[in-house]
Point group: D2
């Protein structure tokens, strides 16, 4: 049985982003049942309904790459107690035009990563509110609020502690089970 | 005494946006105590901390235009039960670099406008959560969830009903009082 | 195959509550696959961890009645833009003591009912945030924000319009499918 | 000038509650400008609109004690990612009957206290959403998400670290300034 294809969206554009490091570390932990595909969001013009009739090429490419995926994983920082604008824009672009959302019915999961103690709780739950409307059934447990993240990675960008690797492995397996349970194929 | 200068941010880029119509209608109702300045957000590149050292010209221009304002008014649709990415990006750009946020201490108010019944409640309150972190004291009452908005405007884009004009006038006067009470000058 | 047993919690205590009317109207629309059981919450003392060692009889009875159910349906008004205290207390009582939550793994759904236009959006989504922690997978679509509810019922308390009956029938069938997909038996 | 009278509501009923300890520790740090009055919420029957015509004595006593206060301070744990039912019930009781809310116009502040890392963020912001409707202008900064709270108190229940005492003193002074700025007298 082929692996579930999982679109990964990283909410930060920064090269040394803790969230990008997390996404890459996950790639080393992921069970065979999942195939992660990080889809870049940097080049997506701001959503504007006036462009729906003749959409910008990056919108088309983004939608075409996400559409065939089986599931979606968000790895995001918190900006100003909510979802970074750049990530929300990618969600908005993927959701349109009306009736053609690429998200509909894809199982989802959320990891929020932050240097602070709170672990991106505000971003995590604002994202979940959007996913209700987008008809993305979201993994409830375990929740992943990853705080103090500046200390989690070694110089090669690997997760330094066994406990974090174990938690993330458990998270990915729970997500794989969730996709198997609620996915459409 | 000069009028309070109010930055107005409109969360939709669409030409015929109901929110833009609302922002323009407000300009015809605003008391002398307030001077509204709609600041465009379309051309702001996505926030990326790697660019803070040498920020894009549109970021600099946006921050320079907002910084001297006395207050900020958000007029926004709801996209996918939250704040449009393009508006959240403008907030993120204005909030950075750390310690130089243009929002800090400016009194704020939120109007959400939607063709649906719910009136953008999800966007309105997600925005309010960000404004806690940004140290923007927000007008609590009256709340402005403007639903069924497609029917509110006449062909010239004016608010068609006395009741809506009266509500919005009341809202703007409450906001002017709020700025006088909590503003920094 | 026996019907899925669904605990129904109504968030209002008022005799003529629109939410109670809705819960009763649902009983007349429910497909054979579901058996609804409205569990009263009025007599539950406020949750207090000091009582866990020797819990009040109404807590024990509530937990014992909810535990064997297959799923949970919330029908709730919005009080002060959030979940009524009395309903949140029932959730808190059911979630304790730690490790013995009666909610864990039960599929859930939320209907918010309000006389106003917004349809209890704030209560609906605050409830969903709790259900993440409680490991209740929640039906995402259709969302049920029922506004203008004072006009929905006839003098016998039945749903007066075909459109509302059809929507609620669709909602209940989607919930039955969701229970079949994500439930534990 | 007399001190501002501040109603303090503690969201936990447990005798050894970390939140109660915090409320008591605050009493030792509070500036002369504030007079704290912890109002008990344990004995308030669940809100039920049918009782408005002949309200239970504890409702009347609670409303009478809160009404003359100048401001309100919430010190609360997070239960199931939201406000404890018992605290939300006190808010609901104080808000009714319609048009007679005891909260309206009183400046407010929120401290969330938790043994976990996240510091009650979910409860803190759900509470803030209610306070919009209740017309309580809320202190935005500093935010007070107090995590790891089991280690904060010594055996006499005092705040053990200088850093925490300093933060809380700063918080209380900011709240006193906020009351002076936005209060009604």
């Amino acid at each position: 049985m082929p692996a579930h294809r999982v679109t990964v969206l990283v909410g930060s554009l920064r090269r040394e982003s803790l969230n990008r490091k997390m996404a890459r570390a996950l790639a080393g932990l992921v069970p065979d049942r999942l195939a992660l595909d990080e889809v870049p969001i940097r080049d997506l013009p701001h959503y504007d309904a006036d462009l729906d009739a003749d959409p910008p090429a990056p919108w088309v490419a983004f939608r075409d790459r996400v559409r065939p995926a089986d599931a979606v994983l968000f790895v995001t920082p918190e900006y100003n107690r909510s979802v970074p604008g750049v990530l929300k824009n990618a969600i908005d672009v993927g959701s349109r035009p009306y009736g053609k959302s690429v998200w509909s019915g894809k199982p989802g999961a959320v990891i929020s990563v932050s240097p602070g103690a709170i672990g991106g709780f505000g971003a995590n739950h604002h994202l979940r509110q959007s996913l209700v409307f987008l008809d993305v059934p979201v993994l409830q447990q375990p929740e992943a609020y990853v705080g103090g993240a500046a200390k989690l990675f070694d110089e090669q960008g690997r997760l330094a502690s066994d406990a974090t690797r174990e938690f993330m492995t458990k998270f990915l397996n729970a997500f794989a089970d969730w996709i198997a349970l609620t996915g459409r194929r």
